[in-house]
């Protein structure tokens, strides 16, 4: 069984963002980078499947500059067998159709039985790449899964999460693609021995030019900070004084302390 899991490296969302000089993306200097949260669930599910199907071979793919290799190493330490790094310094300018095109081109002749992606990336958040890859490869795809099981012979059973916490039970046959939602499983922390082992695993880089065969259909005109609409009160200072102030406000503005 051959499995592909696609991960993206994203900045910590608590970062103090600045707009890049181009005016079209955020400045990538001085940010802390991590694995897209949704993709951690995808990696964990792929590793669990590999543990179930002992002979399975698991590739992790990531498109981005040199620094994404750090995040890929985490996926290798979690249990992926090999890394396919698509080297691209301009990945942020690429729209989902191009990112999907690159992944599909990579996967086209490799006969993956299962492809896993996150349901969305935390920065761009298009929730498109997974489904587009499946459409490009002519595979069935199930999005937003919070449950996954696989039975020998290729039967997949999933639960899709819908609004209000309702779930839809959906089945498919491999080859297929699934997009993973938060809470699908409990992503493991790589252990020290596994981090050491991961250093010896294959992590090859391919230039993006070899895989980019599609044209973009949209472009970013500009990026900016939204206007603050709230206009609420912002309080800073020593915690005792803050607590007194808040109690005063709650007494004036709400009935809950009456």
């Amino acid at each position: 069984m051959k499995i592909l899991v696609c991960i993206k490296q994203v900045p910590d969302m608590e970062s103090k963002f600045k707009i890049a000089a181009s005016g079209r993306w955020y400045d990538t200097a001085d940010l802390a980078w991590r694995m897209n949260e949704y993709d951690e669930y995808a990696v964990e599910q792929a590793v669990q499947l590999k543990e179930q199907e002992k002979e399975a071979d698991l590739t992790v793919l990531c498109i981005g500059p040199e620094r994404v290799k750090e995040t890929m190493k985490k996926a290798l330490a979690m249990g992926c067998d090999r890394g396919a790094h698509v080297a691209d310094d301009n990945y942020a300018d690429k729209e989902p159709f191009e990112i999907a095109g690159i992944i599909a081109e990579y996967a086209r002749d490799k006969q993956f039985d299962l492809i896993l992606t996150g349901m969305q990336s935390q920065d761009r958040g298009s929730a498109q790449v997974g489904v587009l890859v499946a459409e490009m490869l002519g595979l069935p795809s199930i999005t937003t899964i919070v449950h996954f099981s696989y039975a020998a012979g290729g039967a997949i059973e999933t639960k899709r999460e819908l609004e209000g916490g309702v779930k839809a039970v959906v089945k498919a046959k491999t080859p297929a693609l699934v997009t993973c939602q938060l809470g699908l499983n409990s992503p493991r922390y790589p252990t020290l021995p596994n981090i050491m082992k991961a250093k010896k695993k294959e992590l090859l880089s391919v230039p993006v030019a070899d895989l980019l065969k599609v044209d973009s259909r949209q472009e970013t005109a500009k990026m900016y900070f939204p206007e603050k609409k709230g206009g609420g009160l912002v309080l800073e200072g020593e915690v005792g004084q803050l607590a007194d102030k808040l109690i005063q406000i709650l007494k004036e503005k709400t009935a809950v302390l009456a």
């Binding site: 989902p96 489904v131 959906v170 939204p226 609420g232 309080l235």
Partner: protein, 305 residues
């Protein structure tokens, strides 16, 4: 300009998001028509043409078949924009349709300004304007971003379509959300714990403040996903929608899916170390502090009142 609006139904019921699609069409101007896989007994208030396929025939969840039905209608109507809700139905179906049409897709639209489509980036901390290169565009609309002052009226002119049933997925029914346990909708005060609480032991600190305020405690999704709190206490699109007199968001960043479940609360207080956290957009008061230091002090002072 012509827009095709893709409404949704689930389990025999039309979903309210149809009104937001209509609001989007009103904002854009020009012509519009609607598409729905649903039932004739649950029609949207809409005074335009509605292409209706029966769920009973085409399946509740059958994206492959729904895609082909939509492509048929798109062929007839030749819309410039095909608009979905950014929902579990919309984000699933939209890329399939965009791919088939060779159209650009722009997800989670919050506004349209001078012909550029505005979308959020990085948990709504940033915004991005998008310019299109294709003739047709597929969009999904952020829940709550487009609204009408008055609910729409009228009844649609229905044209029944299709009996397409083939698909590459097998839908085996719904599973209801967890039942029983606490009912957050009845609480006057809700104190919610977010990932910022750091560890499960700190739930007790949140619960204690909730008790001091004679309320209940809730949580954001990661706290529930980690198994620290039961799902019944989750606030947001995939949990409960609440409107208490007071909502305290402790260590919650304010993702759109969380805001959707609490932004109609009467008074909102956020406690966050990040002054720029998007929760500040809906908070009446944002306390910039480490909750682990602030909450015990606040609780003591409230208990001493």
């Amino acid at each position: 300009m012509k827009i095709l609006l893709v409404a949704e139904s689930r389990d025999g019921k039309l979903l309210g998001s149809a009104n937001e699609l209509i609001a989007f069409a009103a904002k854009m101007g020009g012509d519009n028509a609607m598409f729905l896989v649903g039932s004739e007994s649950q029609l949207p208030a809409y005074s335009g043409k509605l292409y209706l396929a029966e769920t009973a025939v085409c399946g509740e969840f059958n994206p492959d078949a729904h895609k082909r039905l939509l492509l048929e209608v798109i062929g007839k109507e030749q819309p410039d924009i095909i608009a979905f809700s950014h929902s579990s139905y919309g984000w699933d179906l939209a890329p399939r349709v965009a791919f088939a049409l060779k159209a650009a897709q722009v997800s989670e639209l919050v506004d349209v300004v001078d012909g550029e489509l505005v979308v959020p980036v990085c948990n709504s901390k940033l915004r991005r304007n998008v310019r299109l290169k294709t003739k047709q565009t597929v969009v999904t609309l952020q829940a709550g971003a487009f609204g009408l002052a008055e609910p729409p009226t009228g009844s649609p002119t229905v044209e029944k379509i299709g009996a397409d049933t083939a698909g590459n997925l097998e839908f085996c029914g719904y599973e209801a959300a967890e039942q029983g346990g606490v009912d957050l909708s009845k609480a006057d005060v809700i104190v919610s714990a977010g990932r910022g609480i750091g560890k499960p032991e700190n739930i007790e600190m949140i619960a204690k403040l909730a008790r001091a305020l004679k309320g209940e405690y809730g949580a954001s999704r990661p706290v529930v996903d980690s198994g620290w709190v039961e799902h019944k206490r989750q606030v947001g699109t995939t949990g409960q929608s609440v409107t208490p007199k007071l909502y305290l968001a402790c260590g919650i960043s304010g993702a759109i899916q969380h805001l959707a479940g609490m932004k109609k609360s009467e008074f909102i207080v956020a406690i966050n170390t990040d002054k720029d956290a998007p929760i500040g957009d809906v908070a009446d008061v944002l306390i910039v502090a480490d909750l682990k230091q602030f909450i015990p002090v606040l609780t003591e002072k409230i208990l001493a009142l």
